[in-house]
């Protein structure tokens, strides 16, 4: 099977990502439809289930190496300060303390795109790193932190976008508090507005959400001469490898990053942490392995969040609902270091509109830096867009779905190319039927009684078609067992399991003969980070390709062994036999046993994406809520998630991931909120009492409907990713359902009881 090298192009936001990749030169015959397969698409139990339910799964935080010591990081208690002096002498005297690093005894390692350093004297948020202690036990390291004396020069802080944008605001960086703006125009917005019969404009705000994965960010590092091994709780082993190597001036090949199990990331674990590099510096100095781990408080300060947003949306339409112009003017906080906070993309891409104006500003404040968070920008952008579209539908006297269908597009609005597939209409139809759309309040808020129910919906667009390079190696042993290796990672999403399913189906062997090892840069072929709903669509075609090659290799070997021409051989159920001579037959394990090495190895690659198409996933979610007008409490009773996500690889893990996205979306819609006290500049929600996340009591009835089958224009497995799509439309659907129930629009997330009561008061 021949290969070729291409420049792989992939769009993510404005970024045109280009990488060189090896891909199959010809389009492969696609994987058979799920109805013809034994494992793919079925309810196969999770490959890693045993380890996880038995307590034997070793996460990075559990990893213990002989002679290992512990590192803890001291962070700034102030939102904005400069270090005048650090005195570690008392801490060093504590029995069991081995070494302490600060800006005074380390070289300047650039961090955050050169806007800061590993240890910077200028501390720009409560949580910026000051020192790192290594000690015999975690307890001793913790105690040592309290013995470090730091003299700070306190500087004025700014913790809201509104105050940071003011002329005379304290400057967080020399060039001010504005990051790179996102601007975009299509057509002519002002002309479009002139053509409109009706215009609507409103402002929506959303809060900062914190990832709070259950496993804290942590690493275990160990030097072996000049080579460094890092066990890391990460979503992206190769990014960590490259970041760490660059920071320490090592060759990437001298750094090996390993991740087997990881307790959640949601976007917060796509890059290397400072703690990893600090641990490596300490380990080098002490000559022992080091474990560095954050605590929950630091998790809520330092390792990322979803930026807040203030979005003003304007839409102009014809009387019949046809959009003539849309604009999205917004700002949001990205924390103290470069990141992004834009939220316009859903408006720019999901509906047909010739005239678009976008201006999004990202603002520095003295708080932890934003990181990608499950559908960056899309969750907040979809909430605002889908809220105003419902308001517009009411204004026009149209059904909200009818208005969306009026502006439905079959071509990508940016590139003017068709989608490989788009089944959003089908999602609207099936979702509406399941929720009982026709039973919603025709006049919002018209129900009498204390408890009012409402139904709402929101649409979703995301990328998630995957891209090369992504590789998987397949090894077939002479006992008939197979093993897959790939430098991707399973972050709880079922990667292990679907890889196993695909290989078993292609090779027609029992699934328990297939083993999978993931997450090791030292021994496995490259695959990308597990973010952006990219993993399954990137890696499933690679393992498919490896299995197809293996099948071919087995046939060729069998031909030599049986002395039969290849074209006369049939592969069936792990057996290869001659078409015309039934005595000439061999099991695949015997093929492997007969060849010299007793093992066959192939490496498969993700195919090239098709030219002239846009690849997007689509979906619609429908919410049914109950609002208690006496207490203001919103209960989500039901969510219907109807989505176009290409082929279902595993029904069980797919539904589970949808549940997770919906519940996380519910948390964002109703309760989650990072609160900073303006006066002190300190975060008030640094633990899981104060930072509220959904529990089992908040769980609605969730129904997942998949409207798609395989999309083979994308790849032979025909998969689109689901991690982000599962969450994108949930808050918008809930907000619209709340509006349908009470007849007053809540324009700010989270929709807490006080906001409901205030809105109801202002209405009456």
């Amino acid at each position: 099977m021949s290969r070729k090298i291409i420049k792989s192009k992939y769009d993510l936001y404005e970024e045109k990502i280009e990488t060189i990749a090896e891909v199959p030169s010809e389009k492969e015959k696609p994987l058979a439809p799920n109805s013809k397969l034994k494992y793919v698409g079925k309810d196969v139990n999770r490959y890693d289930g045993y380890d996880k339910v038995s307590g034997s799964a070793i996460y990075t935080i559990d990893k213990v190496l002989p002679n290992m010591v512990f590192a803890r990081v001291m962070v700034s208690p102030h939102p904005h300060a400069k270090i005048k002096s650090i005195d570690v002498s008392k801490a060093l005297k504590l029995k069991g303390v081995l070494h302490i690093i600060t800006n005074e005894n380390t070289s300047e390692i650039p961090w955050y795109y050169n806007t800061s350093k590993l240890f910077d004297k200028h501390l720009r948020y409560q949580g910026d790193e000051v020192a790192c202690v290594a000690a015999e036990t975690e307890k001793i390291a913790e105690e040592a932190l309290s013995l470090i004396k730091v003299e700070y020069e306190i500087m004025p802080h700014v913790v809201t976008a509104e105050s940071a944008m003011k002329e005379n605001a304290p400057k967080i960086h020399n060039n001010g508090n504005f990051g790179r703006p996102s601007e975009y125009t299509r057509g002519n917005f002002d002309e479009g507005i002139k053509q409109a019969d009706v215009t609507i404009e409103d402002t929506f705000t959303t809060q900062v959400e914190v990832h709070n994965p259950t496993e804290v960010h942590c690493s275990v590092v160990n030097w072996d001469g000049g080579k460094l091994t890092v066990w890391d709780s990460t979503q992206s082993i190769f990014s960590v490898r490259d970041n760490v190597a660059q920071s320490l001036g090592l060759n990437a090949s001298d750094v090996r990053v390993v991740k087997k199990y990881m307790g959640g990331g949601f976007g917060s674990k796509l890059e290397a942490g400072k703690y990893t590099v600090m641990a490596a510096l300490l380990a080098k100095k002490i000559g022992r392995p080091v474990k560095a781990a954050m605590n929950r408080r630091e998790m809520n300060l330092s390792v990322g969040n979803r930026p807040d947003s203030n979005q003003t949306i304007t839409i102009g339409t014809k009387k019949d609902g046809t959009f003539t112009a849309m604009s999205h003017i917004a700002y949001g906080v990205m924390g103290a270091y470069p990141s992004g906070s834009s939220s316009y993309w859903p408006l720019r891409s999901i509906y047909k509109c010739p005239n678009i104006k976008i201006d999004n500003k990202s603002i520095y404040i003295n708080a932890g830096r934003a990181r990608p968070f499950r559908a960056p920008g899309h969750v907040q952008g979809t909430f605002a867009l889908e809220s105003i579209i419902d308001d517009l539908a009411l204004k026009l006297g149209m059904d909200p779905i009818e208005l969306r269908l009026k502006n439905y597009t079959e071509v990508d609005q940016d590139g003017d190319v068709p989608y490989t597939s788009k089944l959003l209409k089908e999602a609207y139809e099936k979702g509406a039927e399941e929720i009982g759309w026709k039973n919603r309040n025709k006049i919002p808020g018209s129900q009498t009684g204390e408890i009012k129910t409402g139904i709402g919906m929101a649409s979703q667009i995301w990328w998630g078609g995957g891209a090369p390079p992504s590789y998987a190696t397949l090894k077939l042993n002479s006992d008939g067992s197979a093993k897959i290796f790939s430098g991707t990672q399973d972050i709880g999403t079922g990667t292990y399991t679907f890889m196993q399913q695909i290989a078993a189906d292609v090779l027609e062997i029992p699934i328990d003969k297939v083993n999978v090892d993931l997450g090791d840069t030292g021994t496995m072929p490259y695959s990308g980070g597990s973010g952006g709903s990219m993993t399954a669509p990137s890696v499933s075609p690679a393992v498919y390709d490896a299995a197809i090659q293996m099948k071919q290799k087995l046939i060729s070997n069998a031909a030599a062994i049986l002395e039969v021409d290849e074209s006369n051989l049939i592969y069936s159920s792990g057996n290869i036999s001659s078409k015309n001579d039934s005595s000439k037959s061999i099991e695949i394990k015997d093929v492997v046993g007969k060849i010299h090495e007793r093992v066959l190895v192939t490496t498969g690659a993700r195919n090239e994406n098709p030219n002239g198409y846009a690849i997007n996933s689509f979906g619609a979610q429908f919410a049914k809520v109950e609002v208690d007008t006496m207490t203001g409490i919103v209960r989500v009773k039901k969510i219907v998630a109807a989505h176009d996500i290409g082929r279902v690889l595993n029904r069980k893990t797919l539904e589970n991931q949808f549940y997770g996205g919906v519940i996380m979306g519910l948390g964002y819609a109703l309760m989650e909120n990072r609160v900073i006290d303006d006066y002190t500049g300190k975060v008030l929600t640094t633990n899981l009492h104060d930072y509220k996340m959904p529990t089992m009591q908040d769980m609605p009835d969730i129904k997942v409907i998949i409207v798609s089958e395989e999309d083979n224009l994308i790849s032979p497995t025909g998969v689109k990713g689901i991690g982000e799509p599962a969450m994108i439309p949930t808050p918008g659907a809930i907000a619209n359902a709340v509006f349908n129930a009470i007849g007053v629009r809540i324009k700010s997330l989270p929709i807490t009881p006080d906001k409901i009561l205030e809105a109801l008061n202002s209405k009456s």
Binding site: S56, I58, H689, M693
Partner: protein, 207 residues
Amino acid sequence: MSKDSESNKISRRNFLGKAGTGIVGSTILISSIGAADKTGPDLAEAPPIDPKETDILNLWVNGKKQKLKINPSSTLAEVLRNKLNLTGTKIVCNQGACGGCTVVMDNKAVYACHMLALDAAGKKVVTIEGLLEGEELNHLQEAFIEKDGLQCGFCTPGQIMSAYALLLSKPNPNREDIMEAMSGNICRCGAYPNILDSVLLAVQNKN
């Protein structure tokens, strides 16, 4: 337990095959743990690296009597994880707010991060590892596989121990009982619908 040899893996998955067929695994009963007369190695004799490890703690963990020298400020979770290497018990919030560290002590679910280890003196503690009989899973653990009551798996030991405690006090809980009893266990991956179904399945398989 974490060895990744192929034979080990296969034997585990062969075993897992049973989960789907509804064969119910054995359950460790607290009463039998109490009666067990196994004694762990006397870890109190090892020289401390932490000079503050001054206190002796006697307790039962998973049916074994343990005598440990500990820092009196240690929590039960720290002692289980760091002294006994029972890392199945996870620390998530370390503050009694999420249930990640749930273990069962004298038949009741407790947050191991939220109590001093010394307060467990003389008590019988069961951790997720204690539900196993050799390599064999408890029926509750099997149900979590069958109903996919997990994603990243990090909250899972706490979820299972919470459910285990519930079933000890109420062998036939209904949906509401389970939701009530397990609302102190946060799953950030949001696997709640499947966690609920896992417990329901375990109850059903038991009957």
